[in-house]
């Protein structure tokens, strides 16, 4: 070719293949990336440490009480059982409404729907829905689920809140699931169709299992988001003060949830309530952690199977 014949002696070759082409971009990049990671980790550590520290008195002194008591205006007697119940109920709504609906819509869009102008329009709209501020969902939830449908939901109840948050995370579930489904190689679909499977069989047996880790990631992001939203709950009508009730299973009753409870605690005098605020944050983090761990276990189980 254009290049002169190589005189390949041991020395020449050794020099050549041991040389490192100036990969400055690569090296700089690598350290930039690493520091990005470290910053992120540092945030977690600071966050956890500061909260555990501030809440240590409550967490070590009266954790059982704190978790099982209702809210009281006395900081030393106040607990968060109502918030825990509400948060778990809301999570259940999200998991049982938003996840199936969202994954279903994503499957429909990616596997069934023709790629027409209409589906593109729908796709754009779903992306826009994901960007609607959560307060707006709160306003919507108040108008529709807490007021217009009060006969069903019982007013500003945990059911209204759960449905509102399910609607809030629905677009996120759809988008992340659709992304995961789109990443499934076509050759796998062809293999399935090739042995005479229906579209539904191909979807169920091959597309969904392959996309599952990605779908789980999106789902967990959504559930976690729902667990952490305070503003729409407050707008929908989470009780921010003392109330009786809020028991687990009271779907059509007054409710409280951990994030709004934390928000409320954070407005009470810091000196006496700071410990409760921090302890409630730690409990919420523990719940999020549990949800995540469950999802990661599931994810690993399915990734191994790939």
């Amino acid at each position: 070719m254009a290049v002169a014949p190589h005189a390949l002696t041991r020395e020449v070759v050794s020099a050549r293949i041991q040389g490192r082409r100036a990969d400055v971009g690569g090296t700089v990049f690598k350290y930039v990336l690493l520091s990005a990671l470290l910053v992120t980790i540092a945030v977690l550590v600071i966050l956890l440490y500061s909260q555990v520290d501030r809440g240590s008195e409550v967490l070590t002194g009266r954790l059982g009480d704190f978790i099982t008591s209702k809210y009281s205006s006395l900081p030393t007697r106040s607990g968060i059982i109502q918030g825990i119940n509400g948060t778990l109920t809301i999570a259940a709504f999200v998991i049982f409404i938003a996840v199936p609906l969202g994954v279903g819509a994503a499957v429909y869009l990616e596997e069934y729907a023709q790629k027409t102008r209409l589906t593109r329009f729908i796709d754009v709209n779903i992306r826009n829905l994901a960007g609607v501020p959560s307060v707006v969902y709160g306003i919507l939830g108040l108008a529709i689920f807490a007021r217009a449908l009060r006969n069903v939901t019982g007013g500003a109840s945990v059911m209204a809140a759960g449905i509102t948050l399910a609607v809030l995370v629905l677009p996120i579930v759809i988008i992340t699931s659709a992304e995961a489904i789109r990443a499934v190689p076509d050759s796998i679909r062809e293999a399935g169709f090739g042995v005479g499977a229906t579209r539904w069989e191909v979807t169920r047996s091959h597309v969904l299992p392959y996309a599952l880790p990605g779908i789980l990631t999106g789902t967990v992001l959504s559930v976690a988001r729902a667990l952490g939203e305070a503003a729409p709950l407050i707008v929908v009508g989470a009780k921010t003060g003392f109330f009786t009730g809020g028991d687990f299973g009271d779907l059509r009753d007054n409710f409280q949830a951990l994030p709004s409870q934390i928000y409320q605690f954070s407005r009470l005098p810091e000196s006496s309530w700071g410990g409760n605020t921090a302890a409630a944050i730690v409990v919420l983090l523990a719940i999020v952690l549990a949800v995540n761990s469950a999802a990661i276990l599931l994810r690993n189980r399915f990734e191994k199977k790939r």
Binding site: S73, L74, G241, F242, F243, R267, P269, E270
Partner: protein
């Protein structure tokens, strides 16, 4: 009355009526919320059948819901105003006004600030509508002097933080400290009519008292106001300034005594408003109010506020027993 005849009802101790059922919704001032909460908690312990909730979004928000018929009791850190009365009337809601206690408004600054005492005129010069744009304490000196004050302001940047418009504390502060001077200034043509009931617009407002306190403790030239109980809870991290009504008048520090005997000029009364029609048809509601008033002193003091003197307690009790409709303040 708080009859205690049915001993079989529930295992709750004391004199509750375990058979009561129904719902009671309380909302309104976040200042009064701890008092109502304490009452509600004690009541709920004895009456498991009653669904009761207490919230504290703010006095104004509370009246809005109350006059829409959404709540049974509205907590207030100021008397109901004319607009709100009109709204209630329009909705056909009659209410019973019950005074439950006193709260002071503490004027706070940083412990590093040399200032010891401020008069209403000083406060007007620093916070009132004419102070818009003042960035240094000394910027207000001229106006304060014009209003007859002789306080010497420190040469520090002025950093103001206080509650926002939705708060009863904001309204009370204007009402008590600024309104009289502002009225005069309107007459003198220095400010416009619609500015009379406002503060300067350019200050840091927050609905969160902790944020206010932390802003105040953060800088030397800070100034702000919060409810007395919050100031007390904040301890030594901030300094409560003594207040005098007239320039050169007696400087009084906020304390339970000075607030209850009325000598601390920035003190206000706390109220609950009960929906009369609902109280008549809802046994749980009337029982709750009975219970509330019976333990009133305990609840008020437990919340960090100043209890009513004996005579006013009985005034309140009789207003409730007579179901006196309408407001006697304003």
């Amino acid at each position: 009355g708080d009859d205690n005849d049915d001993a079989g009802g529930g295992g709750g101790g004391g004199g509750g009526n375990g058979d009561l059922s129904g719902t009671v919704a309380v909302s309104g001032s976040s200042t009064v919320e701890p008092i109502s909460s304490a009452a509600a908690e004690a009541f709920a312990e004895e009456n498991e059948g009653v669904d009761i909730s207490v919230e504290g979004p703010g006095t104004g928000d509370g009246f809005e819901a109350f006059c829409a018929g959404e709540t049974d009791i509205s907590d207030a850190s100021r008397p109901i105003d004319e607009e709100e009365v009109a709204a209630c009337e329009k909705a056909g809601i009659e209410f019973i006004e019950l005074k439950v206690g006193f709260d002071g408004i503490a004027v706070l600054t940083s412990p590093d600030n040399p200032l010891e005492c401020l008069s209403f005129a000083d406060l007007y010069a620093l916070i009132g509508p004419e102070s818009q744009g003042f960035e240094q304490w000394t910027d207000a000196q001229e106006l304060a002097t014009e209003l007859g004050a002789d306080t010497e302001f420190p040469d520090l940047p002025l950093e103001l933080t206080g509650p926002g418009e939705e708060s009863g504390t904001y309204d009370s502060f204007i009402e008590i400290a600024l309104a009289d001077i502002a009225e005069k200034r309107v007459e003198e043509g220095k400010i416009k009519e619609d500015q009379a009931e406002t503060t300067r617009p350019d200050y840091n407002s927050s609905p969160n008292d902790n944020t206010i306190i932390s802003n105040i403790e953060g800088s030397e030239g800070s100034l702000g106001w919060v409810g007395f109980s919050f100031a007390e809870a904040a301890g030594d991290s901030v300094k409560a300034v003594a207040v005098s009504e007239e320039p050169g008048g007696e400087c009084v520090e906020a304390s339970a005594e000075t607030i209850s005997d009325g000598s601390y000029p920035l003190s206000r009364s706390l109220y609950i408003y009960v929906n009369k029609a609902k109280a008549e048809e809802n046994k749980a509601l009337s029982a709750f109010v009975d219970f509330y008033l019976e333990g009133l002193t305990e609840f008020v003091e437990g919340g960090g506020y100043v209890a009513l003197p004996e005579d006013q307690v009985s005034e309140t009790t009789s207003a409730w027993e007579d179901k006196t409709v309408g407001t006697r303040e304003s």
